[in-house]
Amino acid sequence: MSVLNLLLVVALAYVVLLFSVAFAADRAARLGRGGWLRSPVVYTLSLSIYCTAWTFYGAVGFAARSGLEFVTIYLGPTLVMIGWWTLLRKMVRIGRSQRITSIADMMSSRYGKSNLLAVFVTIIAVIGTTPYIALQLQSVTLSINAFAQMDPAGGAAPDTATTALWIAAGLAVFTVLFGTRNLDVNERHHGVVMAIALEAVVKLCALLAVGVFVVWGLGQGPGDVMARIDASKIAMWEVSGGRWVGLTMLSAAAFLCLPRMFQVMIVENQDEGHLRTASWAFPAYLMLMSLFVVPIAVTGLDLLPPGSNPDLFVLTLPLTAGQDGLAIFSFLGGFSSATSMVIVAAIALSTMVSNHIVMPVWLRLTGGTAMMSGDVRSVALLARRFSIAAVVLLGYLYFRVSGGGAALAAIGLIAFVGVAQFLPALVGGLVWRGASRNGAMAGLAAGFVLWLYCLFLPGLGPGVVLPQSVFDTGLFGVGWLRPYAMFGAEGLDVVLHAMLWSLSFNLLAFVLVSLLSFPSPQERLQGAQFVNVFDHSRTTGGWSAGMAQSEDLLIMAQRIMGPEEARKLFSRAATVQGLPGFLPEPTTDFIELLERELSGSVGSATAHAMISQIIGGANVSVEDLLAVADETAQIMQYSSQLEAKSAELADTARQLRVVNTKLTQISVQKDAFLSQISHELRTPMTSIRAFSEIMRDTAGLSDEEQAKYSGIIHDEALRLTRLLDDLLDLSVLESGEVVLHRREGALADLLDRAIAVTGGSGPGMIIRRDRPEEDVMLNTDQDRLAQVFINLIANARKYCDAEAPELRIEVRKTDHALTIDFLDNGSGVPDDHQSVIFEKFSRVGETKAGGAGLGLAICREIMVRLGGDITYLPGRGGAGFRVRLPLGESMTPSAPE
């Protein structure tokens, strides 16, 4: 039996063993006997998927080319692990409290359960991981070929493509079988993890065995090997400081950000305490993995013919030494490294793809009714299975297309730089509450683009995507945009160069945009939850149910978690709430719990969306709460508008009341006026009737008597006429229908006229005037104003009871008005009458004058029409009236002489 055939048999047996271990572990876990499956040791060993075939075979090749530099790939993770207390513990705590399913889910959840961000992270992860999967396939085919070449039986090397296809298919089957047994990632993949732990042991033992063989079998112990190292071409310590520091940091970043590492470290973690063991055990594991790398490398360089592939020294050294058993063991180590990486990477990526791309699309396509349409659970599982197959297939295609050349070997570091782009947003989101979704997107975008341009695309070789001219003269001929010498940074190591620029711009964009953007409430809530996870690891907050239908929730949960699991969860919750049966009240706590459980299956963004659908009208998230707050604000605004309107109404009502009162008053006044007027009319009418009856009925009246009576009748008729004239005048004035005839005239002339009409200044009444002050030109209705003056002078004549009646007319000008005071020396108007003298029919006592009491009322109306007024001046010794005319259009001072 040739070595090659033996190898295939052993490999197949090994695969069968892996399947059985995985199956047994799954079974044990299902039967509840899986306690031992979950020891810290298994957790630590599962972390070893960090050591892929790239590190298993590649580390030796790396060392053979550039000495001890390979060790930086292990130093970074070592630092991260011994610093577990600071960062990893926090990530694990968050992962557990938020039911995180993948790194994309973690970032989406941190930045407000944004699915857009998750999609972005998923895409970067797929692009960064696919070549890495191809690399694993390549390493397995290469190692099989190595056996074929060494085979003394001379068996033809199997076709690499066929080998790779078979391996890819086997891996896909294994991953689908054990990776998608259940949907809830938080129930964890016991079988897979157990198989990986076994593989971890195998690869460590294989490498150690080869190391021991090299040091004590091929060499003569450590001293001899050290001497061999000193004599080799990598004897001198010529590591570039930049690369040493840069690669250490890069590997630390990648350790945190690689989707597969995130899967085993955070998602599959069952107990925070496991970190404690891993914190020292994993560094020790890494140290052991790298312990014999340099000895193997220098021995290979020494013993094997020049030109041998140093990447395969681990295999070819035992093979050439005739140690077929050891070689096969070594092959199994490499095979384990490759397969475990592909399996976990496929699980991690498929979770992301199905949760963040397939499920949201499916939910949208089916109208977003998680409750009514088909079985979400089967859809999610199917999506995940197809995603696994697709991811592995992509890796295979990449392997075929790239031709499996040396270019592929460089892909390890290239992928590291790619996933390291997650670091600023990931760690920033854990320590900085101000980190925002837009910042994370901007940082990722900037870093991703630079990574593509500076490392990934150029790595495919000139002319594949980027033409040679871009390498020589830069994009668009801009020298600063040469992919390997951005911004004039020439002579830098390619990886270091890309890492420097991509992470710098990533961080810069992340911080700047975070500082400038304003995160949504959901984002800020999640940010606080992540950053302060140790203060309150429980609440994810946001759900305020009450209207949610427990039954609907159960139906949905059944579709996602499976009927049994869902019923168990619900009845447990009901028991906790102290309710009979298995339908709990949809309390906030319960819905939060349910969302976390569901997000374990379909990711936080999708779970949140699905629960939102069911809770529907009940307000569900902070965003909704805020929307409600907005509504409240609107209502408040509306009510304030209403208030304003009602105030307006009240105002109008008040005005109406005032008007009403006025109308009532007017009506009362009218009644009073009518009674007054009828009284005023009756008095003269009575006289006229009485005397006319006497003249008619009494025969033989003397001429004298006749003349006297007809004189009385005539007087009364005149009085009646005057009264009616006055009334007419007043009504015209009051109705505002009076037409004013404005014209120019001197005040003095006007007064002259008025005095002349009323009898002039004489012994009956001495009128004193102030001629110089009267020199004012007026533009007003001269006749009406004269009427006022006449009335006032006539009144003075009538009512002044002084022995030597005297009327002073004083004219005074102020800025805005002209006042003309009429002051007599009589006893004046009694106090109690002063307020009513301007009312109609008010007469101060029954005096000789026999006026109708309309004169002053008419005067007041006239003055109002002329824009001025007339007031009584009390306390002037006698009666005093002040006529006030506005200065302005109505009058102009006459030109100075």
């Binding site: 207390w85 520091v245 020292w280 320590v431």
Partner: protein, 99 residues
């Protein structure tokens, strides 16, 4: 639970020790980083890869051992007061990666 820490100025000896262990756990990766990067400044002409190996691997193993000690101490503390362990050392620890 934060309040306890703020008000209790003088804590129990054991609590105090445990918190210093947490500080140390925060500090260790920086120490490790410095130790790992130390060979970078060995720029002399006759520095051999083998001598760097003889330096590096013992340091590596030493860090692992240190981590064993620290995590064991922290484990004891955690078991004693699972809640309180988180509140105080985490504050400053969180800030470190930003600096």
């Amino acid at each position: 639970m934060n309040g306890d820490h703020d008000t209790a100025f003088y804590t129990e000896r054991r609590t105090y020790r445990r918190r210093r262990m947490a500080d140390a756990a925060t500090f260790v990766p920086f120490l490790g980083g410095a130790l790992f990067l130390l060979p970078v400044i060995w720029t002399g002409p006759a520095v051999l890869t083998s001598s760097v190996m003889i330096y590096l691997f013992p340091v590596w193993a030493g860090l692992s051992v240190l981590s064993v000690v620290l995590s064991r101490d922290l484990a004891r503390g955690d078991a004693d007061e699972a809640d309180a362990s988180d509140a105080s050392p985490q504050g400053p620890a969180d800030e470190d990666p930003q600096e």
